[in-house]
């Protein structure tokens, strides 16, 4: 790539980066405002109760309550609260968990996050690849029994929530057939290590949650890709190529390449809901990921921890978004060379 060709690429990537930072800032602000703006929310009630109590009788408030008051800046003007909130985030301080006091939220979360990534990323990519392939083949053979089969199955499958599919799989394969474990990320009693025993146990427990995400996600990709292929097969450039005597196989290769580009963007847009689905799936499987700890935090109203989880999950999604944008910019010559980056 000549030097001049690098400029539009950097410009595009830079713009996306700026946009994501801006959006993240908005998201953070929402996270900050919500507990302070929602009337009658249990957090502010809890805090004001502690505040009143503390004013009258300072000894009675516990360490947990002290750190809560400090972190939420009770009694200070809202703008000061906001700035100190941002400042702490910037330093990587996500607050102290109520439940696991005096552990920092980040330390509480750290062991759970890899599990979620380990589940979500391979499953999403697998579904993306299989779904796109199926959809492309179906669109290419439009109107045949295979197309009908793929389309009709996808229409139903794409609407199955991951977690319900998870329940069906557990019921069938674990409860009825006893082939797979019913829950957990690894066998009880094992300690996480890089031993052969532990790794095989992890993989064994991985199958069902992985499958429930993959199967349920394939349909959506297949439907979208099929439509794109049908459109592209009717596009002017396809018709020109066919009329020049290009073979159907070569044309299809071109078409497939062209539809993968928008589907890469689709992957980025889809990450949020995929993550949402995966969190609930983890809950169903008692899988030791973020979904599990989120559920615990929610059911015990551990607000600092809840906030921290969202701060991190949203960062993760935006980071992934940025990687996808980056890949897209490399793959699509139109962006690489600074044109047609419109939508």
């Amino acid at each position: 790539m000549p030097k001049t060709a690098l400029k539009p690429f950097l410009k595009y990537v830079g713009r996306r980066f700026f946009f994501l930072i801006l959006t993240y800032f908005v998201a953070i602000t929402i996270i900050f405002i919500l507990p302070r703006a929602i009337p009658g929310n249990p957090l502010s009630q809890l805090l004001s109760r502690i505040a009143v109590q503390g004013a009258a009788n300072p000894e009675t408030i516990s360490n947990v309550q002290k750190s809560l008051m400090e972190e939420f800046g009770v009694g200070k003007p809202i703008i000061v609260q906001y700035l100190s909130f941002l400042g702490r985030l910037f330093r990587g301080d996500l607050g102290t968990s109520i439940n696991f006091y005096p552990k920092k939220c980040l330390d509480v979360l750290a062991p759970f996050i890899p599990w979620t990534l380990f589940l979500l990323i391979p499953a999403t990519l697998t579904a993306w690849i299989i779904g796109n392939t199926l959809g492309a083949v179906a669109g290419n053979k439009r109107g045949t029994w295979m197309d009908n089969l793929v389309l009709n199955t996808s229409l139903v499958i794409s609407q199955i929530p991951y977690y319900w599919l998870g329940m069906l799989l557990i019921y069938t394969f674990s409860v009825k057939l006893g082939i797979f474990p019913t829950q957990g990320g690894y066998a009880q009693g094992l300690l996480p290590s890089f031993s052969f025993k532990f790794i095989t146990s992890v993989l064994y427990h991985y199958v069902l949650p992985f499958l429930s995400i993959v199967i349920a996600a394939i349909g959506g990709w297949a439907i979208g890709t099929r439509l794109l292929v049908i459109y592209e097969l009717d596009a002017d450039y396809t018709i020109f190529a066919v009329n020049l005597g290009m073979r159907d196989r070569t044309v299809f290769k071109y078409v497939f390449r062209n539809i993968l580009l928008p589907q890469i963007t689709g992957l980025a847009l889809n990450l949020g809901s995929a993550l949402g689905g995966a969190l609930i799936t983890e809950l169903i499987f008692n899988y030791p990921g973020t979904g599990y700890i989120l559920f615990r935090a929610l059911s015990t109203l551990d607000y600092p921890l809840i906030q921290a989880i969202f701060v991190i999950l949203i960062v993760a999604i935006y980071f992934a978004n940025f990687i996808v944008d980056f890949v897209y910019a490399i793959v699509d010559p139109r962006i690489r060379l600074g044109q047609g980056e419109g939508s």
Partner: protein, 331 residues
């Protein structure tokens, strides 16, 4: 006639299947194209011109059905009846090599995410399975790009790096890369400004003069363009040919009432009417799913006779090289 026949259509019918009825887009069309001719096909929007261009190379795709007739192409040594060949065969030995279509929207006809050079090399591989030297073709492509007024280095660019007019010419260059006998241009100029239109027309003329292509079919709404480039004019109305005459003759003395109306619109000085093409002919074009019985033009025809409502006028020779489908000329 002693000229070499290039393409011959004999009573061709090709319909779009639509639920439980047909749209009769090409309905009993016969005509010949000889070597060296530039045939202009004109007609209102929806009269079946683009469909006809697909039928000429027998690219019949799903909703379109080939009902009957013969499509015969001269392939040098002998004549091939294209309508009997399977699609693969057409793809391999006819399309791109003997015939080529410059599509109606050539602006978007180039593979958007491939360099033109790579597209060409894929195309060549599909046609010749490596028997042909790729470098040779690339050299030829560069030459062809120069011929159409582009830089030879433009083949190393992506389509989106070219302007609209440049793309149009690149499409022409690529369509003629394998020296097809017959080049079909489906309104190649309608999306261009005047300067680029002229350039494209000149390019086409050059290609024919240098016998890179042997004949050109030029489809358009615009009679002025046909006048400029074509040697013969075929007038289509509602899926049928109503007149087929040398350009000078038809300009001087259009026979079919529809041709007459069509040409009047060009002579009319008001640019507004000119721009609106032929829509000033009173009435609307018929529904091709259910065309009028008899002559399809009779509901709009100022010279309508009784017979026109009952029988279809056949396309008949009225002069040595003029044909018209109208009862005014054959009783």
């Amino acid at each position: 006639m002693k000229d070499t026949l290039i393409l011959s259509l004999e009573n061709v019918r090709s319909y779009y299947a639509k639920g439980n009825y047909y749209v009769k887009a090409v309905d009993g069309v016969s005509f010949n194209i000889f070597k060296g001719e530039v045939v202009g096909i004109v007609g209102e929007s929806g009269s079946g011109k683009s469909t006809l261009s697909n039928v000429m190379i027998m690219n019949i795709k799903k909703p379109l059905n080939f009902i009957e007739g013969k499509v015969i192409l001269n392939v040098g040594a002998n004549f091939l009846e294209l309508n009997t060949l399977p699609r693969q065969e057409l793809q391999k030995i006819i399309w791109g090599r003997e015939t080529s279509i410059v599509p109606q929207s050539a602006m978007n006809a180039l593979m958007p995410t491939k360099k033109i050079r790579d597209f060409i090399s894929d195309l060549v591989k599909d046609h010749f399975e490596r028997a042909l030297n790729e470098e040779e073709i690339i050299e030829r492509a560069k030459q062809r790009f120069t011929d159409v007024g582009l830089s030879p280095n433009d083949i190393y660019r992506y389509p989106f790096e070219l302007s609209g007019g440049m793309r149009q010419r690149a499409v022409i260059a690529m369509a003629t890369l394998l020296n097809p006998r017959l080049l079909i241009c489906d309104e190649p100029t309608s999306a261009l400004d005047v300067a680029n239109q002229k350039l494209v027309l000149k390019t086409l003329e050059q290609l024919r003069k240098r016998e890179i292509v042997e004949s050109i079919v030029f489809i358009t709404h615009d009679i002025a363009t046909v006048r400029q480039i074509a040697t013969r004019m075929v007038v289509m109305y509602a899926g049928k040919i109503v007149e087929n005459s040398p350009v000078e003759d038809i300009i001087k003395d259009p026979l079919h009432p529809y041709s007459r109306g069509l040409l009047l619109s060009v002579v009319t000085p008001e640019p507004e009417i000119k721009k609106r093409g032929i829509s000033f002919i009173p009435g609307t074009p018929p529904d091709l799913a259910n065309p009028p019985i008899g002559c399809r033009f009779h509901p709009r025809c100022p010279y309508k006779m009784d017979i026109c409502e009952k029988e279809e006028p056949p396309l008949k020779k009225v002069d040595t090289n003029r044909e018209v489908a109208c009862f005014l000329f054959n009783k």
